[in-house]
Amino acid sequence: MTFKNTWWKALGALLICYASVAGLTGKVPRLPILNETIRNTYFHVPLWFAMMVLMSISMFKSFQYLRKGDISLDQEAFSFAHVALLFGALGFITGAIWGNFTWGSPLPLDPKLIAVEIGMLIYAAYFILRGSFDDEQKKARLSAVYNIFAFAAFMPLVWILPRVTDSLHPGNGGNPAFGKYDMDSTMKMVFYPAVIGWILIGIWISNIKHRIEKLEYAKNEK
């Protein structure tokens, strides 16, 4: 997936700049407890969305690899998973800062937190699995199978479990995630561009990572 045109990269960078400036200086509703930390909505939530999108792309690339057998597709799956884990770590940190000010604890026992911790364990295991093979084709095939399997086991965990148990996060206990967000239209004007911006930037970073992987592979082949 090498896009020659660069408009979407520029768009992603612009959207993130806009979301950062508007997110930190714009008007936000005054809510009890949340106060100014509501601005974290522009950073924490989009990072999670971007992580989910990157994980899905990674899973899709693994699937394509199994069908076509092109090693470059597997490297792409690896790059996307790598960046997804990075975004996951960033989302985790922003969430911990937010939780510290609103819930009084950076890491309360919450189903969504457990889900994300497990998700990060899954991808860590994926990287260990990749490291334990020397043969490139074998490594690619086995880790692609694990990637798909783990993704399919992970998604019900994130989407179903928090909804049947009680969670501190909004939109849990039966509601879809956006049901209870107290977002007015000015917040939406910043929130949605931020989501799109982070997703685009994530894809961009993954593409660069993929190109590095490709070069290193070519170097080792010689």
Binding site: L66, A115, I122, L129, V145, F149, P156
Partner: protein, 220 residues
């Protein structure tokens, strides 16, 4: 269908001839439970129901990983291409799944028997508890069979097996613990309906995926 039955027959004959492996697993269960018995019963009644339940599932989890990790590793590597030339990969994975399910079913129920023998029986709704044991055996065998197939290709099979399966199994384990805790407290059936459906769903996804993905693994 014939293939599956023949392969299943092969698995059971192998198991019958290697009885020490099965007996080893039973002994593993007995000694783990005995260790728990010694460490908890010395202070009488220090085992509260949630702890009782959690301990049981953790024992079952480790037994399952030990039992299933050998399902691809016990036969000689060179024999795998031979099976491949004889049978469909779908037939092989199905026979392995069925075999591991039966094995896990026996191990969980025997394990439960040993466990209540040593550490009392606080379960009020035995039928529901048995249902959770069955769902657990199904889910564990589904996840661990495919992971064993992946891990058997690497050199450090044992540690990789635990590493790869733990994160995938955690959601299932959490659900199982909730369901079996409901059974212990003797809550009405409709309370645990959500858990049962979620578990059936997860088990279904996992088994369907192992069925679809195994042919790709097989080629290596």
């Amino acid at each position: 269908m014939k293939e599956i039955i023949a392969l299943l027959g092969k698995e059971f004959t192998l198991e019958w001839r290697n009885k020490y492996a099965f007996n080893g697993m039973i002994l593993y269960l007995v000694s783990t439970v005995f260790i728990c018995y010694l460490s908890f019963r010395i202070k009488s009644n220090s085992l509260t129901p949630p702890v009782w339940n959690t301990l049981f599932w953790i024992i079952i989890l480790f037994t399952a990983i030990n039992a299933i990790s050998k399902s691809f590793a016990q036969e000689h590597k060179n024999r795998q291409p031979y099976y491949y030339s004889l049978a469909n990969p779908e037939a092989i994975i199905l026979s392995k799944l069925i075999y591991n399910f039966v094995l896990m079913l026996i191990l969980t129920f025997v394990g439960f028997g040993i466990y209540i023998l040593f550490l009392e029986n606080p379960v009020q709704d035995l039928a529901l508890y048995a249902a959770s044991l069955t769902l657990g055996a199904l889910g564990f065998s589904g996840v661990l069979t495919l992971v064993a197939a992946i891990a058997s290709n690497a050199e450090n099979t044992g540690s990789l097996m635990a590493l790869l399966s733990f994160p995938i199994i955690i959601p299932m384990l959490l659900m199982l613990m909730r369901l079996s805790k409901n059974a212990m407290d003797g809550l009405a059936f409709f309370v645990s309906k959500d858990e049962i459906w979620t578990l059936v769903g997860i088990d279904g996804i996992v088994i369907a995926l192992s069925f679809v993905l195994f042919p790709y693994l097989w080629k290596s």
